[in-house]
């Protein structure tokens, strides 16, 4: 039965709406409708008194439906539904008309048009609301397990917190060790802690925790299901080594004759073809890189028929020969495992733009490298034992130039945003160079120093005053080779003079971007991301850890580049969200799902073809369509394809939408 006693509440949102939309005129206009029993305006509908106004009015006017005309439903739909429910009105009899983002703000230059549009949106919303049914949420059981994707510091923190609360947690890391980028760092600003010293205990806790199941060198292959009930396929990539047997002794590394660039050292060093990610890797296990292994390449070519093996030829098996536990089997042991979880955290971190992307800044030369690469050269456990050496000739540099904002704040050549951490780590690196080599000349080219964190500004002053780093306020325009040196050319923006320095090495603080795997993973999870690879939160201010997909959260640098402090905080924050979600035995699912009227269904199956969730079956006996509520997501694809209108999404029925369209399309 269509509603007859609707209440309409028009929000001023301070001046956000009322500054453009004539809310009084809207209330009067809407109040003329026969089906509207009460129409009013209020300064802030989301405030306590605003909610109370709904409660009181529902009772006083015996309202059978409510429209709140305010901001986007993503913000306050729940608030308003709860208010109505407190007064005894079914929450599904409340609809939001978005007249702030969709009328007041985009048309602030035309108040009359904005007002008329607001009226139209509200009228359309009323037409839709009128035939809404009272609904109860559907209860679905919850799987009390969690998945964390990405084993950097944020993901590890999240996994540890959840596991500590007694919930089994699966941690998937694509590399052969957990630790993420933090494990690559030399020392950490602003405290100059040794990251390996503070991170290894955490890494070992993760590996030893009874509630954590760790999959390293693994990737999420596929995700199905919904909040509380996800089915996840995880691909364990081929290692060619039996990790149950491998003891991580490293004997094999000593004999392997083949080499490739080290992933962990970001090409600043070579590693053998059979390798352990780094000396403190967790888990400490060896694996073979198929692309550089002599034996595996040989076998591949034989298989492809490219070469014919001669008889009695001994092909390399040096590693296997020295492996005491017999762990190396050369067999492709790629495997897909399935796990079921109730909630997911994505903590896939960041990457930095490669130096090669900036040829004008010398990125094509071997001694012009990124800051992240330079971290490896400064790390005491790194390939140069903490005393940087030039990649080209191994010479210890006597002079180094650092360039800030490479690609950052530069939409033409990189990204429009500030990468936020570069000022601090560059200052740190300049300091560490001075530590390692007192006499080195250090030039730091910056646009402006952004040191907005606890202890950061003090850190900057230490670098200037105690360490004698030459800070030059200027933008570098060119880096080119002059003999054995690199000439850095820029403009000192304080004096307006051209500056030129000749140095042995140049370090580019290149812009940070989201993980290159993010698109793939975001698509599998159906969560949004932006063009730079950052995962998009539900609300930047108030829901920074949530995504529009229920049960999927984000944490750490995957959301946007941030320092360790903030990454760890977000890891803990997302963990708390997951724990709250999994603390209930059952979850409520929105009942806005497809429903079939068996009286008019022809059993043609056209709906079934449309459903991406296999939620529809055709009952072989009655020959009608049947929807599985646990699987249906309420997209409505089925109903748009049904020739008889038998299948429709509850409260989005065709009649409702068409009546709303009629209002929207009307010419007046």
């Amino acid at each position: 039965m269509a509603m007859k006693r609707i209440g309409v509440f028009i929000c001023h949102c301070g001046r956000n709406i009322a500054g453009t939309v004539d809310v009084k005129r809207v209330a009067e206009e809407i109040g003329k409708r026969e089906d509207v029993a009460f129409s009013t305006t209020y300064v802030f509908m989301c405030s306590q008194p605003g909610q109370k106004l709904i409660e009181d009015s529902v009772k006083k006017y015996n309202l059978d439906g409510v429209v709140v005309a305010n901001c986007s439903p993503t913000l306050h739909e729940k608030t308003m539904r709860n208010a109505a429910a407190r007064a005894g009105l079914n929450p599904y009899r409340v609809e939001i008309a978005n007249i702030r983002e969709w009328a007041a703000w985009p048309h602030e230059d035309n108040p009359d048009a904005a007002t008329r549009k607001a009226i139209r949106i509200i009228n359309a919303t009323i037409e839709k609301l009128k035939a809404n049914a009272s609904l109860e949420p559907i209860e679905v059981p919850v799987i009390r397990r969690a998945l964390v994707i990405g084993g950097g510091v944020a993901g590890m923190q999240a996994a540890l917190d959840i596991a500590d609360s007694g919930i089994e947690t699966i941690l998937v890391e694509k590399e052969a060790t957990i630790g993420g980028n933090m494990f690559r760092l030399s020392e950490t600003f602003p405290t100059l802690d040794c990251p390996q010293c503070i991170l290894t205990p955490k890494m070992n806790d993760v590996a030893a925790h009874p509630n954590i199941k760790l999959y390293t060198y693994s990737e999420v292959e596929d995700v199905e299901g919904f909040m509380g009930n996800f089915k996840v396929k995880i691909k364990k990539k081929a290692t060619f080594v039996d990790w149950d047997k491998c003891t991580g002794c490293g004997e094999c590394l000593r004999v392997c004759p083949a080499h490739a660039d080290s992933e962990f050292d970001l090409k600043m060093a070579k590693r053998t073809s059979i390798y352990i990610a780094n000396e403190q890797a967790v888990p400490l296990k060896a694996l073979i890189d198929e692309n550089s292994c002599i034996r595996l390449q040989f076998e591949k070519k034989v298989k492809e028929g490219k070469i014919k093996p001669k008889k009695n030829v001994k092909i390399c098996s040096k590693c296997a020969d020295v492996c005491e536990p017999n762990a190396i089997h050369f067999q492709n042991n790629e495997e897909i495992v399935e796990e079921e979880v109730g909630a997911i955290i994505v903590a896939t971190g960041y990457e930095v733009m490669p130096a090669e992307a900036f040829p004008e800044l010398g990125g094509k030369y071997p001694d012009v490298i990124t800051s992240l690469q330079f971290e490896r050269l400064l790390a005491p456990s790194g390939p140069t034992a903490g005393i940087p050496r030039r990649p080209s000739d191994g010479k210890v540099p006597e002079s180094i130039a650092f360039v800030h904002c490479v690609g950052s704040r530069d939409p033409q050549n990189g990204v429009p945003y500030c990468s936020r951490i570069c000022c601090m780590y560059t200052i740190k690196q300049a300091m560490l160079v001075k530590h390692a080599m007192h006499d080195a000349a250090v030039y730091d080219f910056y646009i402006d120093i952004r040191s907005n964190g606890k202890g950061y500004e003090e850190f900057y002053h230490r670098a200037k005053e105690e360490y004698g780093v030459n800070f030059i306020r200027g933008k570098v325009s060119k880096v080119y080779k002059v003999g054995d040196k690199y000439r850095v050319q820029g403009v000192d923006t304080l004096t307006g003079r051209i500056v030129e320095v000749d140095v042995d090495m140049v370090v580019l603080a290149t812009a940070a971007k989201g993980s290159s795997t993010v698109k793939e993973i975001a698509k599998k999870l159906r969560i949004p991301y932006d063009e730079w690879g950052w995962l998009k939160e539900t609300h930047l201010k108030l829901k920074p850890l949530e995504t529009p997909v229920g049960g999927v959260f984000i944490a750490g640098a995957a959301q946007f580049i941030k320092d360790i402090t903030d990454s760890v905080s977000q890891g803990s924050g997302a963990a708390a969200k997951v724990m709250a979600l999994l603390s209930k035995p059952e979850l409520e699912k929105e009942p806005l799902l497809a429903k079939v009227d068996p009286e008019i269904c022809a059993g043609c199956g056209r709906c079934k073809d449309q459903c991406a969730y296999d939620a529809i079956t055709i009952d072989p006996v009655r020959h009608v369509s049947v929807v599985n509520e646990a699987l249906c997501e309420g997209c409505g694809a089925c109903s748009a394809n049904c020739p008889t209108t038998a299948i429709q999404v509850v409260n989005f029925k065709k009649g409702q939408v068409v009546r709303a369209i009629d209002v929207l399309a009307e010419v007046f």
Partner: protein, 148 residues
């Protein structure tokens, strides 16, 4: 009779997960576009029955725009591919009835593309203004039937 300036009516169907979010972002960023756009939020672009588009044109709209997630990004996995097919059908029908098929527009606008949302709304309104009012609303023979 004085000639009134043509102020088109364009009904916009925006999917909940991408284009509605883009519309929110355009608003929050105070990007301006004409009030000719009359929006309705639908869960997915695949919810949009061809009947909705035709109905809007028949009831007075000069154009319709359907906004969904980019290919591969639909919140419901493949809804936007289904929408693409349906829009193609509607366009064919319009054409075969002798109307311009450009009065139905399909656009992929993701939740972070507030500026794109505003740009598309501006450009399309300009375009429809140039085309002039739609004749489709005068096509009586299609009307009359009630949808429930």
């Amino acid at each position: 009779m004085t000639e009134k300036k043509f102020d088109p009516v364009i009904v916009g169907f925006f999917c909940n997960w991408c284009t509605s979010a883009a519309a929110d972002l355009a608003g929050t960023s105070r990007l301006h576009y004409p009030a000719s756009i009359k929006p309705i939020r639908v869960m997915c672009s695949s919810t949009v029955d061809p009947v909705y588009l035709v109905r809007a044109l028949q009831e007075g709209a000069d154009a319709t725009i359907l906004g969904g997630c980019h290919p591969g990004d639909c919140h419901y996995i493949t809804g936007n591919y289904k929408a693409r097919r349906r829009v193609a059908i509607v366009k064919t029908v319009l054409k075969s009835l002798g109307f311009e098929d450009t009065r139905v527009l399909l656009e992929w606008i993701s939740g972070s593309e507030g500026p794109k949302f505003a740009r598309v709304m501006n450009d399309y309104t300009d375009y429809i203004k140039k085309c002039g009012p739609s004749e489709f609303k005068y096509l009586d023979s299609l009307g009359g039937e009630k949808v429930d």
